[in-house]
């Protein structure tokens, strides 16, 4: 029973409870909360950030961070807009945009994994660099001459359902990242790197190669999110997704991923995303503006770490108590055998 309770005392359990609570409060305060329209609108509003949060989880589990994600999204949007304005067919333009994203990730990865520079500083630099390049490419204009099939992908739902098309992208990616992190050799290696990079290196893990792959993956997915956002807004702008890096990192940490790496699950991150989405939607319906919602999100982020800290201390104390009890029993047995 005790062991069972201890297993339940996980961050994900608390997230489920918080999520249920926020949905219950939202539904009881506003009749519009649980309508399919609101759920559909709330989820498509979160979708780009949710998509980026998935590969970012892998980066953070491996003990690094990437805060250039939102700038990569902006650069992708600007590149896509410029190419389409220049008459490049949309398919080719999207391909080039994703390629630009991959190159952004390659630069991050090379500087971090090959030169051994701290990822916080490198991606702070590329945060400014990529956003600056986005403005240099597209300026303050916006490009909106997109074919209708492209823009309808951004805000239409799958026929017959209320599921936005973009949710399909998220679901596919979530499954892929889940399998990668929890059911593959690479996933186990990510935890190993995040827990003890030195030990992982001595066990023959190619840390640099894996990290470069992670940064390329994250930036490419960010560029994909830029394409999706451009479709949803029917407009490519250099300032698309400005400041979103903080939202996305918050969602990942709220999902129970340790900022120091080595701990966290995709399930938790998905729950964290749903919690943020439901809170923001509920507060919006209660006429609370986005900036004031931040008070709730920020407090939740701080409490999430305070909570895991306390949970860990409790669990460690229980563990050490059990160990001392076992040692005492063993000691008594040895004494009894000796006498």
């Amino acid at each position: 029973m005790r062991a069972y309770l201890l297993r339940l005392a996980r961050w994900e359990t608390l997230l489920v409870l918080l999520l249920g609570g926020s949905i219950w409060v939202g539904a009881s305060r506003s009749s519009g909360f649980l309508t399919s329209f609101n759920l559909s609108a709330a989820s498509s509003d979160m979708m780009e950030r949710a998509i980026i949060a998935l590969p970012l989880t892998l980066v953070i589990v491996s003990g690094e961070i990437d805060i250039s994600i939102a700038s990569t999204l902006g650069l992708a949007s600007a590149v896509l807009g410029t190419l389409v304005l220049g008459g490049v067919p949309l398919g080719a333009a999207i391909f080039v945009t994703l390629l630009v994203g991959a190159l952004c990730g390659l630069l991050n990865g090379l500087l971090i994994a090959r030169l051994g520079l701290p990822s916080l500083v490198v991606t702070l630099g590329t945060l400014a660099l990529y956003r600056g390049l986005a403005y240099v490419v597209l300026g303050q204009d916006s490009a909106s001459a997109f074919p209708s099939w492209f823009t309808s992908f951004g805000f239409n739902t799958i026929p017959g359902t209320l599921v936005p098309w973009t949710a399909l992208v998220f679901a596919g990616l979530a499954v892929a990242v889940y399998v990668l992190l929890h059911h593959s050799v690479l996933g186990r290696r990510l935890y190993a790197i995040g827990n003890n990079a030195e030990a992982a290196r001595f066990s023959g893990v190619h840390i640099a190669r894996i990290k470069i792959f992670l940064f390329i993956l994250t930036a490419t997915v960010s560029a994909l999110a830029g394409v999706i956002l451009t479709a949803r807004f029917s407009s490519a702008r250099a300032d698309n997704g400005l400041g979103w890096e903080i939202d996305i990192v918050t969602a990942v940490l709220l999902g129970g991923v340790s900022i120091f790496g080595g701990r966290g699950t995709i399930f938790g991150v998905v729950l964290g995303l749903m919690l943020i989405g439901s809170l923001r939607s509920g507060l919006s319906l209660a006429d609370v503006t986005g900036e004031i919602q931040s008070i709730v999100i920020g407090s939740l982020l701080i409490c999430s770490v305070l909570g895991t800290n306390i949970a860990q201390r409790v669990r460690q104390r229980a563990l050490s108590r059990r160990l001392t009890a076992q040692l005492a029993t063993v000691g008594r047995e040895v004494e009894a055998a000796g006498s």
């Binding site: 500087l111 030169l115 051994g116 520079l117 701290p118 916080l120 500083v121 490198v122 702070l124 630099g125 590329t126 945060l127 400014a128 660099l129 990529y130 956003r131 600056g132 390049l133 403005y135 240099v136 300026g139 250099a238 400041g243 903080i246 990192v249 918050t250 940490l253 900022i259 120091f260 503006t289 900036e291 004031i292 919602q293 931040s294 008070i295 709730v296 999100i297 920020g298 407090s299 982020l301 701080i302 770490v305 305070l306 800290n309």
Partner: protein
Amino acid sequence: MLDERAAGIAAPRPPRLASWLGVVARYRAVGLVLALVLLGFGVSIETTRFLALGNLENILRSVSILAIVAVGQTLVVLTRNIDLSVGSSIGLVAFISADTLKHHPGIGVGAVVVLGLAIGAGLGIINGLLVVVGEVPAIVATLGTLYVYRGVDFLLASGKEVDASDVPQRFLNLTTTHFLGLPIPVLFALAITTIAFYLLRSTVPGRELYAIGSNPDAAGLVGIRTGRLVFAAFLICGLLCGLAGVLWSSLYGTVGASAATGFELQVVAAVVVGGVNIFGGSGSVIGVLLAAIFFGTIDNALAILNISAFWLQAITGAAILAAVALDAFVALRIRIALRTGRRR
């Protein structure tokens, strides 16, 4: 023969990067001054307006707020922590001080400064408590307070902003008045940098900050009260944000709830380009001051040369990358120099 044996037992000498390039690479201040001189020279060829006294004063005035906060951030980063909430703290204090003067125009400027300092200190104390007592990693704790402080700012402002015409002229004069030939914010920045330089270089708590950043566990083992000092670093950083917030609202006059949004990135950029190791333990406020001036000068030069301000962000990013890459290069050279020194 004798020489060889003497060399063999000698302790490894400090690395010597003989070329002038090596000197530039090893001392960030030298490199930054060189970059500033080159930049100034290049811009002056294009236009004489750059070196005009009024323009230089403009640069210094806008740089001083960045420099004041960057000094506070330096103290925090030296201890292997970071304060991402500085932009929100400045914005909150800027709005409260402007709003207070709007509703109580009779209050003295000095009282507003004290109020700003008190609020800033309070915000710093919250950060410090979360990090030291709550054991929340600084990057997470201050990311959270970045949100919360900004949210409180918007809650207080509730959509309104304070206009320059709403506050007394003597408050706006705070940043334009000259004293000893320099605008007051510049004097503040110089005084704070000088005090921080002295504290970090020549006092026990200052040296202990470096010790904490180099190796927090070892610092605790040799009896340094790491918790107290980290708390103090956050407190002082908050205090300086408070001062910067008051100066901000005096300098720009019109203050809304979104003042200084994203300013934390410029501050961290100045600290890193100024040569402070993001993992703590090394760096000097002189480099940070020069880096702040460097960014202010680029900003101004782009405006004067009529180059789109969009380039500023790209250049800032490239400067950060160049600075950290240079650090890595120098560290590598020093390691190689040490190794060859030993072999000899």
